[in-house]
């Protein structure tokens, strides 16, 4: 865990990127609720507020999902920094999410 904290946004504050995230959810379905929770917590812990999260409820805005090429919900789309990527599911595997965000990255793997 100490590894992680050295790479935390606070550690390299100046070069840290700004994250634009779009979370597609389906109302209050259980996986969607969980994804929202996890994302909020991760942002607070690791991104220190350097992020803009837009939450799209697909049940209300179906076309938004299609426009973004989202076919399974919940899904998290990382729009920037590039490359754009999508994580499908309830985000329960936090390590994987951080990896996708390029945060825990290679520091954890070896």
């Amino acid at each position: 865990m100490s590894d992680k904290s050295t790479q935390s946004p606070a550690g390299r504050a100046s070069g840290a990127p700004f994250y634009r995230l779009r979370l597609f959810v389906a109302g209050d379905e259980p996986n969607s609720v969980q994804a929202r929770h996890v994302l909020t917590r991760l942002c607070e812990a690791h991104l220190g507020g350097r992020c803009a999260i837009e939450i799209v409820d697909v049940c209300e805005d179906f076309h938004a999902a299609i426009e973004h090429g989202i076919y399974l919900v919940p899904a998290l789309k990382v729009e920037s920094p590039p490359p754009a990527r999508t994580i499908v599911g309830s985000l329960s595997d936090e390590a994987k999410v951080l990896h996708a965000l390029g945060i825990a990255g290679k520091g954890v793997e070896p």
């Binding site: 389906a26 379905e29 996986n31 399974l72 499908v88 599911g89």
Partner: protein, 558 residues
């Protein structure tokens, strides 16, 4: 070049995405699938959970079923089996899975020809078969598993233990057979009894007048031989009729409280003589045997008949065992034996080490005139007599036999509460008449006249009445005062016993002698004469009649 290199990368990327998506789906982390033109709200996670719950439920149910179940693939390999199957075939599930069902169920290298699955492949419907494994019976039931196009993809194979049912079926069949046997004997008995009754009266007349004729013919008369032939033939017919009457349970019995052991011991000497030296006689008599109510003369006949049959079954010698014991028959026994009822019995068993008999023979032995013996050796009436006597006395008889091994007859007689009476010795009497007055009540005219001529010859004065009403008229209205009334037991309107009871209101100490060759069922049921009642069985010789009449008159308190 760079484009060429990029394309595979993009493909890998897309495949990775698809895999991740599938993964999320599998884990049940997806709430919704977005289709091209509509939302498909798939609550996948609950679905997964529901699936798991159903799977658990199904497994528990599967294992809870007491019948063994195999789920088979199209090649009859076991895909799944429940706990009952593991238990039945005494192997853990892992050892059963993947094996062909015939290997496990029949232990064969290929399906057995009667395999219901072979039939099911054709019919695509449930097929069944009964199967015995060891000493148990099973019903095998197979149901096809079909795909959407009605093609066979497997089968469900259920194996249920039906041993109890098979056993019950067999018991029912045995009971049914017993019942039919009993009914057959019953109807033969009725027929025989009816004929015997009429025959008896006719014989009484033939024998009676034969005797009278002999008495009248001079000692040197050449006709004596011919008349004696008539009488002898009549006696043979009489013996036959007696047996038929016994079989049809229409003898008049005079049951007494008897000790079966004593009865057997009294017979022992004569039995030894009967069976000869090559056959050993063993008695195994239980101590403290409860008494039974039985006609002693008939009991002797039963034992002798059985012993004679055993002797005939052991021409080269052997062993004859007569046993007695007190037994209690329970409900289960009664349920399995037609005609038996639960209770306390005395068992008389006669066992020999003779030739025995097969089932077909054993089924017929109680029928009159059934014999396997050559002409002149057997009449086929021995066992039918035994059967009739035992049944009429409220008992039951069963035969157990094995060809080549031997035979056991078991006779169950109900125990009695009554105490044994010490039998009074009958004083030897001289048949000299003191000119007493006798009223003879008999509905058959020829018999009536015969008795009159016989008694008159002995010096008695005789009045005749054709029925009970006539007798009452003579006594109550005309003031007739007989010393003795001889009456038939069975007569139309008023039976003999009723008549005597009536007459004794007028003359309390009135002597009575009952005669009968036949009693109908009603009489057998409750009218069996009690053991002290003077009785003479028709047909009788004139000497017998004379002796009996004298005996009754002599014992009469005057």
């Amino acid at each position: 070049m760079s484009k060429d290199r990029r394309e595979p990368n993009e493909l890998v990327e897309r495949l990775a995405q698809a895999e991740a998506a599938l993964d999320a789906l599998r884990r049940g982390e997806v709430d919704l699938v977005v289709g091209p033109d509509a939302l498909r709200v798939v609550r996948l996670k609950p679905l997964v959970e529901e699936n798991e719950r159903l799977a658990r439920e199904w497994r528990t149910t599967f294992d809870a079923v007491k019948d063994a179940i195999f789920v088979l693939d199209a090649d009859q390999r076991i895909l799944r089996c429940n706990r009952a199957a593991e238990k039945l075939f005494e192997r853990p599930g892992e050892e059963l899975l993947g094996k062909h069902c015939w290997e496990i169920v029949h232990g064969t290298a290929e399906p057995i020809p009667e395999c219901p699955i072979l039939r099911m492949r054709q019919s695509l419907q449930r097929e069944t078969m009964d199967l015995s494994i060891g000493d148990r019976w099973f019903e095998v039931e197979v149901d096809p598993i079909l795909d959407a196009k009605n093609r066979l993809t497997g089968a469900v194979n259920i194996i249920s233990d039906i041993t109890e049912r098979k056993k019950a079926e067999k018991e029912r069949a045995v009971l049914h057979e017993q019942l039919q046997q009993a009914q057959k004997l019953e109807s033969i008995g009725r027929l025989a009894g009816g004929v015997a009754h009429d025959f008896n009266n006719i014989l009484s007349v033939i024998l009676g007048y034969g005797d009278i004729l002999l008495g009248k013919l001079h000692q040197q008369d050449p006709m004596r031989d011919e008349v004696r032939e008539i009488v002898t033939a009549g006696r043979r017919a009489e013996a036959l009729i007696r047996q038929l009457l016994a079989f049809s349970r229409k003898q008049t019995l005079q049951p007494q409280v008897l000790d079966l052991n004593e009865q057997v011991r009294n017979l022992e000497k004569m039995l030894r003589r009967l069976i000869g030296e090559d056959i050993a006689l063993d008695l195994a008599l239980a101590e403290d045997l409860p008494p039974v109510l039985f006609d002693p003369g008939q009991l002797d006949q039963v034992i002798i008949n059985l012993a004679v049959n055993s002797r005939d079954a052991m021409p080269k010698g052997g062993k004859l065992l007569i046993e007695t014991s007190a037994v209690e028959l329970d409900k289960a026994y009664a349920a399995a034996h037609t005609g038996a009822s639960p209770g306390e019995y005395v068992l008389l068993a006669v066992t020999d080490t003779g030739c025995g008999m097969d089932k077909e023979t054993a089924e017929k032995i109680f029928e009159p005139f059934f014999t396997t013996k050559e002409k002149g050796k057997g009449t086929g009436l021995g066992l039918s007599t035994v059967y009739g006597i035992v049944k009429q006395s409220g008992g039951n008889i069963w035969v157990y036999s094995e060809p080549g091994k031997g035979t056991t007859f078991k006779i169950y007689l109900p125990q009695t509460e009554e105490k044994q009476k010490t039998r009074e010795k009958i004083v030897a009497s001289q048949e000299i008449s003191g000119g007493e007055h006798i009223l003879v009540v008999e509905d058959e005219e020829s018999v009536r006249n015969l008795i009159k001529s016989a008694l008159t010859r002995l010096g008695y004065s005789v009045t005749l009445a054709a029925n009970g009403g006539e007798a009452l008229l003579l006594v109550e209205e005309k003031g007739l005062k007989p010393d003795l009334v001889i009456t038939d037991v069975v007569m139309p309107n008023m039976g003999g016993k009723e008549l005597i009871d009536r007459l004794r209101r007028t003359y309390p100490g009135l002597g009575a002698l009952f005669m009968s060759g036949y009693t109908d069922n009603a009489i057998v049921h409750h009218g069996v004469l009690d053991q002290d009642t003077p009785f003479i069985q028709k047909p009788f010789t004139l000497q017998e009649l004379g002796r009996k009449v004298h005996e009754v008159l002599a014992s009469k308190p005057s």
